[in-house]
Symmetry: C2
Subunit: 335 residues, 2 copies
């Protein structure tokens, strides 16, 4: 599936806003920020390779759906992207991940202590976008953002706790994802509407849509990380399996709680020791236990839930045409 032709129409605005937000400040923190945002390589030379800017694009599309100039919601769009990047920088330290977007992670470049600082700096800059905003909707937007950060942190806490948990239920897993991924996507949509001047009910409807979209997005991501086409995803096949990530398919396949080759594989530290299972064999076991079908079906159901939430938005009088196309692109992508 290809992007709707206008899916990235506000990307230049987002980039401009981000660059403006990171134009002033301490040299070394700004330099490290430019690396994380994908504008420079580790030696400071111009490059490309940041993220998809999904959250700020959603924020601006929501403002456009309400009928205001997207520039109005730009402080919110920039805020959610900076907060997203703060969380990525810290997550990579916590998970010990060495690569993101095909480049060394921040802590690999500047060390763990300074990467903690870098995350904290992006965190403050993100909040600062909305404390400096004088729109009537700014206080509500700020509360949405801070609530989302708390839920994100709670989700990340659970994610780490799951690594050593004896058993994780699908319900616990989805609650974790709702915090870790859903909360900030929900905030992106809610903040876009708040800054656009929407009423409280509309803001909550947009927020709820964004959160469900985030859930659907993550479960689809879990599917693609196990059975995605390496040519389309740009990662090696079953990359999540190699990293022993406890994704939805794994949670599902281990739900019976039996001790067997699969549970042994996921109990192993990712230290090169072998349980005798190749990643391909693990993917095969997961599929045999119905995890592939189940994950695909769950991603579709969550996408349908998000779609339903968009009907609520439409009933409140907002034009949802572009948002529906955007949502379909996000959850039906193959990469």
């Amino acid at each position: 599936m290809t992007a709707p032709e206008n899916f990235q129409r506000f990307l230049p605005l987002v980039e401009q806003g981000l660059r403006r937000a990171l134009a002033n400040g301490p040299d070394e923190l700004l330099r490290a920020s430019r690396y994380v945002l994908g504008w420079e390589d580790a030696s400071g030379r111009p490059s490309s390779g940041g993220g998809k800017r999904l959250r700020p694009l959603i924020c601006l599309e929501v403002a456009a759906a309400i009928g205001v100039a997207p520039e109005r919601a730009l402080p919110g769009a920039v805020a959610v992207e900076l907060i997203h990047n703060f969380s990525l920088v810290h997550d990579d330290i916590q998970d010990g991940d060495a690569i993101r977007h095909g480049r060394p992670t921040a802590w690999k470049v500047i060390g763990q202590p300074q990467a903690i600082n870098l995350g904290n700096f992006l965190y403050a800059r993100g909040i600062g976008q909305l404390t400096d905003c004088s729109l009537p909707g700014a206080p509500a937007a700020l509360r949405l953002l801070v609530d989302a950060i708390e839920r994100m942190v709670e989700g990340q806490w659970s994610d780490i706790a799951f690594e050593t948990a004896a058993q994780v239920t699908e319900q616990e897993y989805l609650a974790m994802v709702a915090g870790k991924t859903g909360a900030l996507l929900g905030a992106a949509a809610g903040i876009g509407s708040a800054l656009a001047g929407a009423d409280t009910r509309s803001v909550e409807a947009f927020r709820r849509w964004g959160e469900l979209l985030g859930l659907a997005f993550q479960v689809r991501d879990d599917y693609l990380g196990t059975w995605g086409d390496p040519d389309a995803t740009g990662k090696s096949a079953s990359s999540d399996i190699v990293r022993r990530k406890r994704t939805l398919p794994v949670v599902y396949a281990l739900a019976a709680g039996e001790t067997d080759a699969l549970s042994a594989y996921y109990a192993e530290k990712n230290d090169g020791r072998s349980s005798g299972l190749t990643p391909e064999a693990v993917a095969e076991i997961l599929a045999t236990r119905g995890a592939r079908e189940h994950t695909d079906a769950l991603a579709r159901r969550l996408a349908a839930d998000a779609d339903d939430a968009l009907y609520t938005v439409a009933e409140l009088g907002h034009d949802t045409t572009t948002l529906r196309a955007l949502a379909a692109f996000i959850v039906e992508r193959d990469r």
Copy 2:
């Protein structure tokens, strides 16, 4: 020197506000927060042993000096204490410190990944105190807080960078301290006045006083960490020397940039290898080079600067009697 009898008069209010701010939320993050605040030990039993609550007490004393009920500034007092604790939790990870306030640091109890989350949670809760506050001064207070956090992070970045720097000037060192310690004390005083309804000029005067007080406090702390009376400080003598902290006396004594026994001592990793110098010998060399006298004089000069800043506050019509006694206690303490 003993505390002015009423120095801790608002402490019960501060503790009440902190407990209310941490009454609701995710169980495990709240539990870890209670440990950090000193209310519980690692197994969840009631204990005492948190910090001095210096920042929230300053915040409330400023409100009282302006003549409003201290309760009015309580959200700000709670906010600065939560932000202070977020920074301590992250600093201890960054520095690898195992003990604070005589107890294992948070990362020693819950591990580094979850301690990063804990810091991020306290960070969000701190900001949240002011986003939920409807006083007219709340937006200004929030901007003061976010600015202070950015400067704190910048100061912490410099502090870490100094560990491997060939040379650190006294000016660079004091700029680092102004960010790492001065900014949040300044914010505590500024926020207290903003929530109390003070005008912009008064808020800036209070903020400036708090920042200078923070500088004086830290330089005095550097002195006590090297030459303090172990009986009074509760730490072993020259504890900063053992940890090879590049405090003001060290920066001063190494300013000539010569390669000698002292520079060799501070170039060593804190790994038990010996340069042949005992901590006592290092303290002696520092004193011989005039670092003891210089540090003492600088702490006094900064305290006098803070005192001058308080005259500006008085000229703007505020009662500074209690604040002056409080400041004297803070910078003339022997522990």
